[in-house]
């Protein structure tokens, strides 16, 4: 099963301040362990929210763009990993080994196909999607 590991922002990350060399080294070592164990699929750090934006949706057509930075620092995301592990406990066990000194890091399981069976028990949605795909394919062929 796949997990997203969500690292929250703090004042430093929001200020765009990079961690100092020792923190960087510890994190590199940790990432290396994850890679060597065949657990890490991906991992990225994010720029501060001052470089980001939000789009607010109201009703079918109204969209408002809100530029960063955003104030609720602890709720913001500063980075993430994608891990593939055997159980939720394994993800927790790996996370406990991360070289953080403070704050909280969250893990969330990523949906697999099996989770959608409940939403689409007859496969009707999937069939519709397939139909759409065939249309696109035909358009593509005509273009070629």
């Amino acid at each position: 099963m796949k997990f997203m590991v969500i690292v929250k922002a703090n004042q430093d990350s929001e200020a765009g301040k990079l961690p100092d060399a020792s923190v960087f080294e510890a994190m590199n070592k940790y990432n290396e362990q994850l890679v060597k164990a065949g657990v890490m699929l991906a991992g990225e750090g994010l720029h501060p929210s001052s470089k980001g934006a939000r789009v607010r949706f109201e009703g079918p057509s109204k969209r408002t763009v809100i530029d960063g930075p955003f104030s609720e620092t602890k709720e913001l995301i500063a980075g993430f990993w994608l891990w593939e592990v055997k159980t939720r406990e394994e993800a927790i066990e790996w996370l406990k080994r991360a070289p953080f000194q403070e704050g909280e890091v969250e893990i969330r399981q990523i949906h697999g196909t099996e989770d959608f069976a409940a939403v689409d028990p007859t496969g009707a949605l999937r069939a519709k999607e397939d139909e759409l795909r065939r249309t696109i394919e035909k358009q593509q062929q005509r273009r070629n």
Partner: protein, 424 residues
């Protein structure tokens, strides 16, 4: 959702056991003894951790416990006499290593892990034994999990593992990383085992489910670990690339009701882009090491052709056909030839593909292989030879051991029959 301490300990075991067993094997020079010691440490953890909590450095805790238990047990003579010599080794090493224990578990045990995976896949063992031992020692799977994955009774797997460990001990197989040509031969045995596990998950040869994704993930994990242990070996990256790209399609390969969906009919929006990206990167690594002509790298390159096509109609079949031609030169096999026929059929028309398939009709190793009549049936459908197509598809259905696939083939045969009637 509360965390069950037992499951937490199992998770620690999964993370730590390969390094633990590898490190212990280096000391006692016997995989069987090393695993027993590691198991003893696990039992101790299961007794103590639920009340004491998981220690800060669980790996070091398990290692210390395993060593102490080993020394105690051996001292009491509870184990067979043949292991007495190991007592001496353990004692000597304990004197030398105990102060550095914490450090030892943290330091790079990469070579030990590589030795462990090589010995688990040693050619002296049967393929089945290699698979079981590798999943057990490197994958951290329990005997029960392996048995369920391969749909065999648990005692059968337990027996295989016991016998494999005994064979390794009796034949005094060294715990080492050989050099040169021998390393190549040993590595290819490892790759074969890993890919076999993957394939059993990807298109289950038996049982009610078309795929068993858990096995694919176990194999992928082994492959990814191996790629870090032997980073200079192009074929390791070739195999990882092949598995990443194939696994990227797992979500798209089965309908919600469990029916198989063939490659060209799959919804490509369901393909896992992250795995495709990883697969293409691994293929690049194989190429950079000069290994683009390796059999796994070639198969990965073929898989990459499909992965790059946004829609099935964009597939570069001519390129795939030429990659198969190259693969047929490098590692000739009737199955490769059959796949080449499929690609040629797509690139140059069903008649060209059928001509290649006909040449395989007498191939002894393909008698009983359901994909031969299945592919032949495909070409015949496309050529409008519906009566012959129906017979071939029915024959394919009678040959497959997978229930889902049998159903799909019979449906297609029935469709041929209907079309034949309506056009006559």
């Amino acid at each position: 959702m509360a965390t069950d301490p037992r499951r937490a300990i199992e998770a620690v075991w999964r993370i730590e056991s390969p390094r633990l067993i590898a490190g212990l094997t280096r000391v006692v020079r016997d995989v069987g003894v090393a695993e027993e010691l590691a198991q003893d440490a696990l039992v101790a953890a299961l007794e103590q951790w639920p009340s004491s909590g998981v220690p800060d450095n669980p790996g070091a805790w398990l290692m210390t416990t395993a060593r102490h238990r080993g020394i105690d047990t051996l001292r009491r003579g509870a184990l067979a006499g043949r292991k007495l010599e190991e007592v001496g080794q353990l004692e000597a090493r304990r004197e030398a290593e105990v102060p550095d224990l914490e450090k030892a578990i943290d330091e790079d045990v990469g070579d030990d892990l590589l030795r462990l995976i090589l010995i688990s896949c040693h050619p002296i063992l049967s393929t089945e034994a290699r698979v079981a031992l590798t999943l057990r020692l490197l994958g951290g799977l329990t005997t029960g999990e392996i048995a369920r994955a391969f749909l065999v009774p648990e005692p059968t797997i337990a027996q295989r593992i016991v016998r494999a460990k005994r064979t390794l001990a009796e034949e005094k197989v060294p715990f080492e990383v050989p050099r040169g040509a021998e390393l190549q031969a040993r590595l290819s045995s490892v790759l074969e085992v890993v890919y076999l596990v993957f394939n059993e998950g990807y298109s289950a040869t038996a049982g009610d489910d078309w795929t068993r994704p858990e096995l694919c993930q176990d194999a992928l994990r082994l492959g990814r670990i191996l790629a870090e242990l032997a980073p200079e070996e192009p074929e390791v990256h070739g195999l990882v690339s092949l598995m990443e790209i194939q696994a990227s399609r797992l979500r798209a390969r089965t309908s919600p009701s469990g029916e198989p969906i063939l490659l060209l009919d799959q919804n490509r929006a369901l393909w896992d882009r992250i795995l495709i990206g990883r697969g293409l990167a691994a293929l690049e690594r194989a190429r950079a090491l000069g290994g683009e002509r390796g059999p796994y790298a070639l198969q990965a390159a073929i898989a990459a052709c499909h992965a790059r096509a946004r829609v099935a109609a964009e597939t570069d079949w001519a390129q795939i056909a030429s990659l198969y031609a190259e693969l047929a030169l490098r590692s000739p096999s009737p199955v490769v030839e059959l796949n080449r026929a499929v690609a040629v059929g797509m690139a140059h028309g069903p008649a060209a593909g059928l001509a290649l398939v006909e040449k395989l009709a007498q191939e002894p190793s393909l008698q009983g292989y359901h994909l031969l009549p299945s592919v032949r049936g495909d070409f015949l459908v496309k050529l409008g030879r519906l009566e012959e197509a129906r017979a071939e598809l029915e024959r394919a259905a009678s040959l497959t051991r997978n229930e889902r696939e049998r159903k799909l083939l019979l449906e297609r045969a029935a469709a041929c029959a209907r079309r034949a009637v309506s056009s006559s």
